[in-house]
């Protein structure tokens, strides 16, 4: 049977997975890039399986449904969730009601589940997932207005939800059409659970609004987030904290590689992140240094040089973003456990996307070295001492108003804006629910 032979061949292909990052998932899903049985893809149209990592309450639910319905058939959804989170259907029906498989907790090995789901789909043992949303235009317009054009007058209609592209002055002194679009919340590079409302002129971002989706509090899936959360309340070995820090920064570097089209290097960085997370054997800091050499040879640093530099003083008062701008601020200096280990801060200059990428990789390497020394002496961080998370001093240092970032990106090319956001790795909590943010 020719058809079944074709399906068997297709079933053995690397599984194209689209990762939808929900609340509490951090950058955990990106680590799957290290698995050669999987391919993380940039568009849901390329995937057979959508991996819903974390929790999708509030505005994220409808967004997940839209992404889910964009996958071509045969398709399936795998839900990677924290133990004890809200059950599907608690607030609204959606794609999460009928997952092909559910993996509980970060320790659950999700890759074999994704491979198995893909094989069952192609083998006909798993039915393709039906649409989660209704197949109707999100912006009905037909039949409205004097001429059925959807609105008042010549320009008033919004057919297919797209208003007429009116002209406006651009940065080169030309009058070009402006188009508005909502991108995200699952786009590579965007902060977690954030939709970018962009007004484009060509590829230039005329105006940008970063709109965090209102997400109810959700249990944490990502062990990095969990570890730093735990360290605020109880003593945690420094070695574990530093390994978690290295793991996070390596994942963030992997995201930047993916955005820059360096998929294989992203897999390498993700593999190191996963190694840093395994704890016992860990990962050799020399391997991180080798990745740094690949990074320099890739010309990515040259390409991102001067991209996403914030004018004047950096809006970041702490965290890796501040240190990438030359600000010598690190809460670990105030922790006696770190002082006993001879902690020395890593700082860059420039404050651009290049400096942030270099900073993250340097901090990952430094953290692994610290972890090794801390494990030897059994150093422990106590909750009454200052805590430096990968984003800045706890509880909310290093965060920055999204409006400040968005305003700084107006006038940039979209790819530069996205590179900036990716390199910033904005604070997950602030991205999910900043004080006073619009829903």
């Amino acid at each position: 049977m020719a058809v079944s032979a074709l399906h068997r061949l297709a079933a053995a292909a690397p599984v194209p997975v689209f990762v939808a990052r929900g609340a509490g998932a951090g950058l955990l899903g990106g680590e799957l890039a290290a698995d050669r049985r999987l391919r993380l893809v940039a568009s849901p149209r390329q995937a057979t399986v959508v991996l819903a990592a974390g929790h999708f309450g509030g505005g994220l639910g409808p967004a997940l449904d839209r992404v889910h319905d964009q996958l071509p058939h045969p398709r399936a959804l795998v839900w990677w969730r924290a133990a004890g989170g809200p059950e599907p259907g608690d607030d609204r029906p959606g794609a999460l009601d009928h997952p092909a498989a559910v993996v509980h907790g970060p320790g659950g090995d999700v890759a074999p589940v994704l491979v198995d789901t893909h094989r069952r789909l192609l083998g006909g043992d798993q039915a393709t997932a039906p649409d989660a949303g209704a197949d109707e235009p999100p912006h009905p317009f037909e039949g409205r207005g004097d001429h059925g054009q959807g609105g008042e007058g010549m320009m008033g209609g919004v057919p297919f939800g797209r208003p007429m592209a009116m002209t406006g002055d651009d940065r080169d002194g030309l009058a070009l059409g402006q188009v508005s679009a909502d991108l995200g919340p699952f786009l590579v590079g965007l902060p977690a659970a954030t939709v970018a409302r962009v007004t484009f002129q060509g590829e230039v971002v005329q105006a940008l609004e970063l709109r965090p989706q209102a997400v109810p509090e959700a249990p944490v899936l990502d062990p990095v987030l969990a570890r730093f959360d735990e360290a605020r309340h109880r003593p945690v070995p420094v070695a574990e904290l530093e390994r978690a820090r290295a793991r996070h920064h390596l994942r963030a570097v992997a995201e930047c590689f993916r955005l820059a089209g360096l998929w294989a290097l992203a897999a390498r960085a993700a593999s190191l992140a996963r190694g840093a997370g395994t704890g016992v054997a860990g990962v050799d800091p020399a391997a991180v240094a080798a990745l740094g050499r690949r990074l320099r040879a890739s010309a990515l640093l040259a390409s991102w040089s001067g991209v996403g530099t914030f004018p004047g003083r950096s809006p970041f008062t702490g965290g890796a973003n501040a240190r990438a701008a030359g600000l010598a601020a690190d809460a670990r200096r105030g922790d006696p456990a770190y002082r006993a280990l001879g902690f020395a801060m890593v700082v860059q200059h420039g404050g651009d996307a290049r400096a942030r990428l270099v900073q993250r990789l340097a901090e990952a390497r430094h953290a692994l070295e610290l972890a090794s020394r801390a494990a030897d002496v059994g150093a422990v961080h106590h909750p009454d001492h200052p805590l430096e998370t990968p984003w800045g001093p706890a509880p909310d240092g290093g965060s920055v108003a999204l409006e400040v970032v968005a305003a700084a990106l107006a006038g940039a090319d979209w790819s530069d804006a996205l590179a900036t956001l990716c390199s910033l790795d904005l604070v997950p909590d602030a991205a999910v629910a900043p004080a006073g943010a619009a829903p």
Partner: protein, 312 residues
């Protein structure tokens, strides 16, 4: 020049189609191998079958149609791009006595192929009626147009020593000295043009992840397979042209001419594919600036060097 053997009207599409299909498969294998080597996940024999598995998946996957696409253009774009790759490959000679279409002005044919390739990629981004593909299409046009002038200077530079626009004569003229040595700027500049027009690796400004896959962000199933195939085919054509124009074509000791051509084409392909995994994507605006202010003057210098060398 020795009398050329031409493929007849029936054999020509078969030969070109076979070379492009085998070449596209080779591109996919090289890409899978390069990915694993750079990622450090270990090279294994299954890289030989992985492209077939991925192709099979795209065959059985649904071809999603977006809201109000320009359906005809969407279907036409991969066909046009593959057709241009075929036209380009057809004029490349494989031995002193064989090319599928031995036209007198092969270089001019290539100028046409490159210009129309920009149109085909634009159509692919335009037709799904979607934001990100459209933006990628416009971005690609800016890059593609910038590459075209560089390409023309570089290709005219290889025509000067041969005193002919025919690719057969251009290869003939490299019997003593390959063009890559005669004017060394040519091949690196040509490689940038090849990566630019095929939007591969560091020049993937048409289908990059920053626009969710760019012009192919909405492409799935057979549409995606056709597009990926056409893109690999164009890379093969560029590599074949590069071998003929810069690496002495069929010239080489012991082995027959076509074997040398195939080996040089494969080597050039490996280089272009590996670049995709080792070098980050350039920024569109910076590349366009760089292209007009650095590459174009370098291409002109290449032309001057070739011209001086061709003086009696």
């Amino acid at each position: 020049m020795s009398p050329a053997l031409h493929a007849d009207v029936w054999a020509a599409p078969l030969i070109v189609g076979t070379v492009l299909a085998v070449g596209a498969y080779l591109v996919a294998v090289l890409d899978a191998a390069a990915t694993r080597v750079v990622a450090g996940t270990g090279l294994a024999p299954d890289v030989l079958i992985e492209p077939l598995r991925r192709a099979a998946l795209l065959v059985v996957q649904q071809r999603v149609v977006t809201e109000r696409p320009d359906a005809a253009s969407w279907a036409l774009a991969p066909a046009a791009y593959a057709g241009l790759a075929a036209a380009g490959l057809a004029v490349v000679p494989w031995s002193p006595s064989f090319s599928v279409a031995d036209v007198d002005a092969g270089i001019v044919v290539w100028g046409t192929v490159e210009s129309l390739a920009v149109v085909a990629v634009f159509l692919h981004g335009w037709s799904p009626n979607s934001h990100q593909p459209l933006m990628a299409a416009y971005r690609y046009v800016a890059v593609g147009l910038s590459c075209l002038l560089v390409s023309m200077f570089v290709l005219i530079a290889v025509a000067l020593p041969a005193e002919s626009l025919a690719l057969n004569a251009i290869v003939d003229a490299q019997a003593g000295l390959w063009n890559v040595v005669r004017h060394p700027l040519g091949l690196p500049l040509f490689a940038v043009v090849a990566l630019g027009i095929t939007f591969w690796g560091p020049m993937d400004l048409a289908d990059g992840a920053d626009l969710s896959g760019g012009t192919s962000a909405e492409a799935s199933g057979s549409q995606r397979l056709a597009w990926q195939g056409a893109r690999a085919a164009m890379l093969v054509s560029f590599a074949a042209l590069g071998s003929a124009a810069f690496l002495g074509g069929w010239h080489g000791p012991v082995l027959p001419g076509p074997v040398w051509m195939a080996a040089k084409t494969a080597a050039l392909l490996a280089l272009l594919v590996a670049a995709g995994h080792l070098v980050a994507r350039v920024r569109a605006e910076r590349f366009v600036t760089w292209c007009w202010t650095v590459l174009l003057p370098l291409a002109f210098l290449d032309l001057v060097v070739a011209g001086l060398g061709a003086l009696p």
